[in-house]
Amino acid sequence: MTTAATNLRSVPLARRFLSFTWLTLGAALLVMAWAAVAQPSILIDTLVTGGMWALMAAGLAMVFGVMNIPNFAHGELFLLGSFTAFTVYSPIRDAMFNDPSLTVLKIFGPFPGMVAALLVGAVVGVLLEVVLFRPLRRRSREQWVMNTFLLTAGVSVVIVNGYRLAFGNNYHGVTRYWDVPPLEILGVPISVDRAMVLVIALVTIGLFAVFLQRTSLGRAIRAVSQDETGAQMAGIDLNRIFVLTMGLSCALAALAGAALLFLFPAYPDVGLQPLYLAWFVVILAGLGNIPGAIVGAFIVSLLQTLTAFYLRVGWVDVMPTVFIILILLFKPSGLFGSAVKGVWEQ
């Protein structure tokens, strides 16, 4: 790892920026800049959905980077988040319907549901770590990635069908959170719901970045992702970090589900598409790298938007996959993958 890191430093600047990664990023930025002028709705759609895939993918990347768990139950946290938001928001919506003068609810009504989703996600994440992963870790860490893959795939089946058993196959959704006329940005009408999704995503990602970068706990998480033994020598309790990592990651996924309730109503399989998209992003960016996952989310979302705009909506999941296959042919470690292991650093 010393040599890889040293190479990174000694590569001339020009060559560094001519690399595959930077060319891809440059192309993506160019397309977005062009879209801002020619087709602003492409840019706005990219940012809105990209923000949500970033929330999903950041959590997925963190859990893989810190705990080495490929979490295939991540989409089910999206489901639990959207159902929690629906459950909490429904009575608030009814109250508004009965008494339209409740302007406070009109503005702040959707937030309790999102906060509840965040909490439910965190609790489920903590339970997954304490009840499933910790006993497995104590027993053996051999074949850990494969075992946890099977374990999380099983958890996904259990949650989907448990949900189906408890709440049925119906769609539980809302047509809109904020019942106000659309805003106009760059000459494109954009609903307040969609604008809020972008705001929520950016604020959450910003807080998350500050947490990882500046706080002692965030540093501890990064330390564990780079060297578990070293972290223990520094007095860091691995179990505590794993609980925190899993809780945070699941809370982010649940928040994404809650914020997108007006687009994805809660139903048993709703987590599938977000799960696969988050995996596309994480594989594209390089396993276990959070900033890469955030950038990758916007690239995938740009591809989706372009596909929907110029091709057909049905191809929306095909194009990112084709793109990822192409990237992996040329750079198997992903766009931001490197020999240095770490959740935050590239």
Binding site: A220, T229, M233, G235
Partner: protein, 239 residues
């Protein structure tokens, strides 16, 4: 603490699965002492340190640190009690800067003033680290990495520091610098237990030393005593 005993191992047995490495190891380190554990490759020196630091559970015997039994305690808890450990493999965080590595080392310290003061001390001991504080740990040279590992160990203000093979893989100049730093630390009242293969230099530096062979303590004495011991002279000093 009474008699000033910092660390005591009595009849410790330890190993990996079916392979027992340590047999009936008893040793002690008193407050303010500089003690070395010497011996050939594969004697069990690293295993001894790993067992003390909580990375390996002993199968028998007792370990007490400042009067508290710590055998079988988890590694992070041992570290938080004030027992620092600098491993042979260093276990730095390669994608973090020197500064961040040191900050993580102080995870268990709440007092910001104390963290700043300890960091000043580390930079005073290793001016090189101060020059490189913004650089990623993975890009440091072997000697600098060793300094950083010791510095990170110091950040928790341990009362006892275990250091595994500080001279391993270092150029002679860097070895001298590392030993100088350990000597300076000792003068500041940090108790140190050192594992080394570099027997001659070590014996001139330390107060006391143990010789470990095939998992058993075979000799114990002050540095001077061991330097004149016929077995040590024949087996380690080539006299």
């Amino acid at each position: 603490m009474g008699n000033g005993r910092m660390l005591e191992l009595s009849n410790v047995e330890a190993g990996y699965e079916l392979l027992q490495v340590l047999w009936d190891v008893s040793l002690h380190v008193d407050e303010g002492e500089f003690v070395a554990l010497l011996g050939p490759n594969g004697a069990g020196k690293t295993t001894t340190l790993r067992t003390i630091a909580g990375f390996l559970k002993p199968s028998g015997g007792e370990i007490t640190f400042r009067g508290t039994p710590i055998a079988g305690a988890r590694a992070h808890a041992v570290s938080r009690m004030g027992l620092g450990y600098v491993s042979e493999t260093l276990n730095l965080f390669p994608a973090m800067t020197v500064h961040e590595n040191l900050q993580v080392g102080a995870t268990s310290v709440r007092d910001r003033g104390q963290i700043a003061a300890t960091m000043d001390l580390v930079f005073e001991l290793f001016p090189r680290l101060h020059e490189r504080r913004g650089q990623l740990a993975g890009t440091l040279s072997g000697g600098e990495r060793k300094m950083l590992a010791i510095g990170r160990g110091l950040m928790a203000s341990p009362s006892l520091l275990l250091v595994d093979e500080p001279s391993l893989g270092l150029a002679p100049m860097a070895t001298v610098a590392t030993f100088e730093a350990l000597k300076a630390l000792r003068e500041r009242g940090v108790t140190i237990m050192l594992v080394e293969q570099n027997v001659n230099t070590t014996l001139h530096l330390v107060d006391r030393a143990y010789v470990l062979e095939q998992g058993r303590i075979v000799l114990e004495g002050t540095g001077q005593e061991l330097l004149t011991n016929p077995h040590v002279q024949a087996a380690y000093l080539g006299i």
